[in-house]
Amino acid sequence: MPEQLAFTIEVFLNGLMAGVLYALVALGFVLIYKASGIFNYAQGVMALFAALTLAGIIDGQVPFSHLINAILGTDIHHFGWHVPAFLAILLTMVVMIGLAYAVQRLVFRHLVGQEPIILFMATIGLAYFLEGVGDLMWGSDIKSMDVGLPQGLNTWIDDTTFNAFGYGFFIDNLDIVASIIAALLVIGLVMFAQYTKQGRAMRAVADDHQAALSVGVSLNFIWILVWSLAGFVALVAGIMWGTKSGVQFSLSLIALKALPVLMLGGFTSIPGAIVGGLIIGVGEKLFEFLIGAPFLGGATENWFAYMLALIFLVFRPQGLFGEKIIERV
């Protein structure tokens, strides 16, 4: 049964790659949660919004063109230019920072000191809001995203594995690039948090808001910084998913998968997000391949991650790497 084994290894590797992408979205959640205690449900929609904005800018679309056309009766759609990918990414980043500023200024500043669950529901509202704004700004048709990332079968792996096992593994170049970028991103974030002044301030805020405030750390600035970072992570995740399967609404649903990833890894741990993402990615692909498709009628990927997290949490409520929950009355 070496062929079956080879299939399983291929599924395992693909699961690992999918897991990296889940981890990428989960990373954005962890950043915001650690620094402000807000569980940001809108992270997935932020990825969608970032990807939409990027695709729109590259294409030279006029923002809100549909709305403008509807109100003024004009017929404008494009500026008629194409922005190079690198510049477009920078512009999108500016938009995401502006968004972070607006969100902090208009929403969460007014909700300081509210219960976490209220904040969570506010982010659900934010998710709806952003989704609507994204669609109004750039239109709701599915866009393709091309920023020059390599795509398609990796022939080198195909050849090597074919020589070794007599069966070539199908692994997408994009997934490999995504893994490398995700790894770089994590290393970068950890370095930033450990060795820069702002990073240190960020960790101080995560540790204790009031203590950080009393030694002169500006909470407002740190929160905007953290939301911008989360916006950046969302942009990267949006580029990856967008290149893989087109920029469309389902992007924000895929991001929902990041929630079980977080529950598995613990809300407060960056390594937890990575490990959780890998476990979920590999787990759901292997489960679908070995049990789901042959015995349960397929499409188990829809719920496997949530069930795994649910069962896992019953035994370990704080997740794999989360801080131990201590309750006081």
Binding site: A70, P116, I124, S140, P260, L313, V314, V329
Partner: protein
């Protein structure tokens, strides 16, 4: 002038502890009931029933159910859509298996089935709290939808994978199927709404409801003063799922008639009902009605203003609706975390003191 308790003396305990202690409130309540039961059925047609009244009534039941769990017991659930699907599919199975039994029995039984499923998915709440629980209920949502999609027994092996309601009656009057009368479906749903609101209101002001609220406010402290978290949380899940199951059954059988589970009972439905109780007011039965009315009316109103008056394309109006709903959620959470119900309470308080506010 009218709205005050002075001069309104109660001489028995029953009078003293009634739901509406103020006379004006009580008469207003009877008046609303009178309009709903005896006036509206004679005035409505199919359009009004299908676009406004049925969705409002059915969502009100779902909102009451979710409000018991989230607003009174503090257990946030994102699995409403899944539980509504349980109610719908249970109702479908009962309707096709026992055609001669009255619809009333079917709907109540599907509520009971949903209550059992709800308790099952409520079990983790004893270990998991806060958003961990919210995400865990997503497991219920996705798993249940998948189950109804993939296991042919649930949709009686129909080729399309859909379920559609056969013609069933209640005291000889057709309630489901294509040949129903507007007033019949309206009154049938209204009956369940009154039942749910009555039960929910009286449960929440009795000992069960007080236990739920104790768990919501601080679960460890509640446990210390002798509230069993196991019983309180599981009863909340059971009662809440019972109502949500009823609403799911009505949604499928009376309102839509045919259902494709992923489309109708997806995660969007869970959020919609959650938004209703946030906008309406967490921990308030009146709030459930207000929220349901608001979110049923909003799309209709937007469509009339945007599409019919201004002549915008429908997709823009749909996106604008997302923006408005999302924005409203945020505004309500910032300005009035207790929702429309709190505005109502404040208004009543003002009325009581009027015209001498100090």
């Amino acid at each position: 002038m009218l709205y005050r308790e002075s001069g309104d003396f109660s001489s028995t305990y029953a009078e003293d502890s009634q739901t509406f202690p103020i006379k004006f409130d009580r008469y207003r309540y009877y008046f609303v009931l009178f309009i709903a039961i005896a006036v509206i059925p004679f005035m409505i047609n199919d359009y009004w029933v299908n676009s406004l009244f049925l969705p409002f009534l059915i969502y009100a039941i779902a909102a009451i159910g979710l409000n018991i769990l989230v607003g009174y017991c503090g257990q946030v659930s994102l699995g409403t859509g899944g539980f509504m699907a349980v109610g719908a599919y249970a109702c479908y199975k009962f309707m096709t298996a026992f055609p001669e039994v009255s619809m009333l029995v079917h709907v109540l039984l599907s509520g009971l089935v949903t209550a059992c499923v709800g308790v099952l998915f409520g079990l983790p709440s004893l270990r998991i709290k806060g958003f961990y629980l919210a995400v865990a209920t997503l497991a219920a949502q996705f798993f249940l939808v998948w189950l109804f999609n993939r296991v042919p027994w649930f949709y009686n092996y129909s080729a399309s994978g859909q379920i559609s309601a056969p013609e069933r009656t209640f005291f000889g009057i057709e309630i489901t199927g294509p040949n129903t009368q507007a007033w019949a479906t309206y009154l049938f749903c209204l009956m369940f709404v009154i039942f749910s609101a009555y039960v929910a209101r009286n449960l929440t002001r009795g000992s069960v409801g007080r236990k739920w609220m104790a768990i919501r406010d601080m679960d460890i402290a509640a446990e210390i003063i002798g509230v069993s978290p196991l019983r309180a949380k599981l009863t909340a899940f059971a009662v809440s799922s019972f109502f949500i199951g009823i609403s799911g059954a009505l949604f499928f059988s009376v309102y839509l008639g045919a259902v494709e589970v992923g489309e109708v009972f997806g995660i969007q439905k869970s959020f919609l009902v959650l938004f209703m109780i946030i906008i309406g007011g967490l921990g308030s039965i009146f709030g459930s009605f207000a929220g349901a009315a608001f979110l049923v009316l909003l799309p209709v109103a937007l469509k009339i203003v945007g599409v019919d008056w201004l002549g915008w394309p429908t997709d823009i109006v749909a996106h604008l609706q997302l923006v408005i709903v999302g924005g409203l959620i945020i505004i309500f959470l910032i300005a009035e975390p207790h929702g429309l119900a709190q505005l109502w309470r404040v208004a009543k308080e003002k009325l009581r003191l009027w015209p001498f506010p100090h």
